[in-house]
Each structure stands twice: as C-alpha cells, then as structure tokens.
Symmetry: C2
Subunit: 220 residues, 2 copies
C-alpha cells in the first residue's frame, strides 16, 4: 500500500524507514460512508484505526433515549476505543458513528502490538491520543456539571458555525451535542432569537450577532 497516508501523522512520519515500511505494509485503507457504526457496546474491535479524513462521533445513549457526544475523532487522530479493546480487552459503554464519509487506515492487532513493542514513535502517538481523550472527557464532565446551558449552547453554535454565519443543524443535534433535551434547546434558541442574536428556520440557524453570542459563550 502507498505510504502517503503516513504523512498525516507527524509522529509516524518521523519514524525510521524500517518502521514506516512495517506499518505501511500491513495497513489497509478503508472507506466508511457517513452514518456507519464503527463500534458499539459489546462489540470487540479487531484492528487499530487511524482516521485520515472525516469525523467519527463518540457518544453515549441513555436508557431514556437521551444522548451526549463525548468527543469527535477527526483526521490525524486515532480511535482509542478500538485501541483499548486491543490493549486491555475492555468494552466501553459508548458507540462511535461516522458523521461524514470517513477514510481510515486499519492496522491488524498483531501488527499493532508489534509496532507498540518496537517503535517509540508509535507508542508516543498512541499515548498522546489517550491523553487527549482523557482531557476531552474531563472537559465534558466539567461542562455538564458546572456550566450553564445557554453558555454551552453558544459555544456549540460558534464551533459548528466555523466562521460561516449560517449553521445547518437541528435542535435535536444540538441537544445531543450538549447532552440535553430538544425542547430545552429550542426554548433557549427562541430566547436568543427574541434578543435578535440569531434567526431560526427549519434545520438552520443564522448567527445575526456573533459578537453577543461570543460574549455569552465566554462569559462567566
């Protein structure tokens, strides 16, 4: 297989040639259409996944049907859920779904373990991603436990806007991001509209006053 994908991962690109060759020989490129379930509670993974492009959403679903996004895996990152399955035979109560079409590289378990054993750079990649996820999770706990929902909503709107002025997203999507309920998000959005900060329409939210929204997102 071509080794061009390896450039997406600085830790791997810096490996000595024989390590790079080892990885590229055993890696297989996979394409996952949007909406694919990458992993789910109770399903053990059988290969290590490196994401090249697209995003995977990792979320929890409550018995009552509510959902919360724990973090997103994007290009240049690895999927620690599958990593953990490989390394610790642990099964997690979360599921991963592709939000967009995803291109990834799969490394079989045996090759993964050998890479871990042989290559400090590869280990570093894996550990760094573990740390990043723990950091993400702690941030989620902090937000859910301590921050006001309107502030968190403003943050999500800005994050999803990504410099554009119109966000194509449903109230339910935002509620899932925040671990809240659709009606609650709807009411908060309505209040923002009343203040003239956003304009609401079906499936889309226009940010009319990004500065005020930013102030809300950053406010104490």
């Amino acid at each position: 297989m071509s080794d061009s994908w390896i450039e997406r991962f600085p830790e791997l690109a810096a490996l000595p040639p024989q390590d790079r060759a080892f990885l590229t020989e055993r890696a297989a490129k996979v394409a996952l259409p949007a909406g694919t379930t990458v992993f789910a509670p109770g399903v053990a993974a059988e290969s290590f996944l490196l994401i090249l492009a697209g995003t995977v959403r990792v979320q929890q679903v409550s018995p009552g049907g509510r959902e919360i996004v724990l973090y997103r895996v994007t290009g240049g990152e690895t999927c620690i859920m599958t990593t953990s399955c490989l390394l610790a035979d642990e099964n997690y109560a979360a599921d991963g779904v592709t939000e967009t079409d995803v291109e990834a590289v799969a490394i079989p378990k045996a090759a993964f373990e050998e890479a871990i054993a042989q290559s400090p750079g590869f280990r570093r990649l894996v550990f760094t991603d573990y740390s990043r996820r723990i950091s993400d999770l702690m941030h989620v706990v902090e937000e859910v436990a301590f921050e006001r929902l309107d502030k968190r909503l403003a943050q999500r709107l800005l994050a999803r806007a990504d410099n554009s002025t119109v966000v194509r997203v449903t109230h339910q999507d935002l509620a899932t991001d925040l671990g809240s309920a659709r009606e609650v998000v709807g009411r908060l959005l309505k209040e923002l509209e009343r203040r003239g900060w956003v304009a609401l329409s079906r499936g889309a939210i226009e940010l009319r006053n990004p500065d005020q929204i930013k102030a809300l997102a950053e406010g104490s």
Copy 2:
C-alpha cells in the same frame, strides 16, 4: 529497595526477573499523609506513581467553588495523570488529593520510559489503567448527564457504607462526590429521613433501611 511491593501488581509480579529487578532498583517508596495534593493543574509530574495503599481522589473544581470527584485511585492502581504528564507532556485541569494516608512507589521518568520500552507487562499495566480511567470518566458523564440525583445519592451512600450501617460523611462531601450542591444533598437526605430510610446526625448518616436505599439506587 525491597521488591515485596511488586506483588501488589499482578502484571508486574509476572515479569521476568530482570525486569522486576530493574523496577525495584529504581523505585522509591514514598509516604503521603492524608490531605496531600499529589498533583494540580499546571504542575508537571516528574515520576510515575504506583499506589500501594490508601486512596487518592481526583477531582475538578469549578470557578464557582463547586467540585466533582472524577475517580479514585486505590491500592494496586497507577496514577494516569502523572503518567500522562510523563508520556504526553499534557497538563490536566484536575487535581489529586490523598483521602487517607497513602503509601506509593515512585519510578523516575527515565526508568519509566525504559520500562515502557522494554517490558510488555509494564506496558500492559499502564494501558490497562488508562482504559480503566477512561471507562470511569465515561461513567461519570453518563451519571451526571442522565441519572437522577436521588438515585446517585443512594448509590454513593451504599458505596461509602461498605457493609457498615453508619456512614461518616458530611453533606458537603457527598455533594462533592456527586458534583452537586450541599443544600440539594441536604434536602434529598431530609426526604430520605422523612421516609424513615436513614437517620441524620452531624457528620454521620445511619442507614435504617438499606433495602429501600438499594432499590432506589438500582431503580430505573
């Protein structure tokens, strides 16, 4: 240093003799009195920590003064916060405090990295603990986001009771465990007392009807 401590860690006890010797030569036993801050935001760790006895509480503090316990590290486990600092030079927004007197073993950074490189068993120990913590954190998110506070309170009471019938704990301690507010916990406890399930006194809670409390803790 004596190598008897290594028996507390099955993964390490099973190592080949030279790996065991390597670790015990470089390890230093440390004793931390209750209430010691083991790590805090912005402070980088300089050695890897294995806990022999006692517990370290890892928690987040909100700007508004509220706190939430993320997880506890007990005997036979490693402290992944310090691990992450060593492996990924990442700083976390959490702090660790000893809840009891703690006996631990510290392995300096250089020896830690060598052990990671050389010993598959040592790697396995580290990865397993990472996985456990991620699992813990996801559980916290799930609880905080989706579960009712009275149910979570009942769970905490039972966990702290540990087969005894009297729990020595303040309302504030429980609130910190749950990431809630003292007054809220107090009101819920009062309601449990009204039902005759507990008896309240200053600094202690007597479980008068553990079965009902269990039912609440396990109920949908």
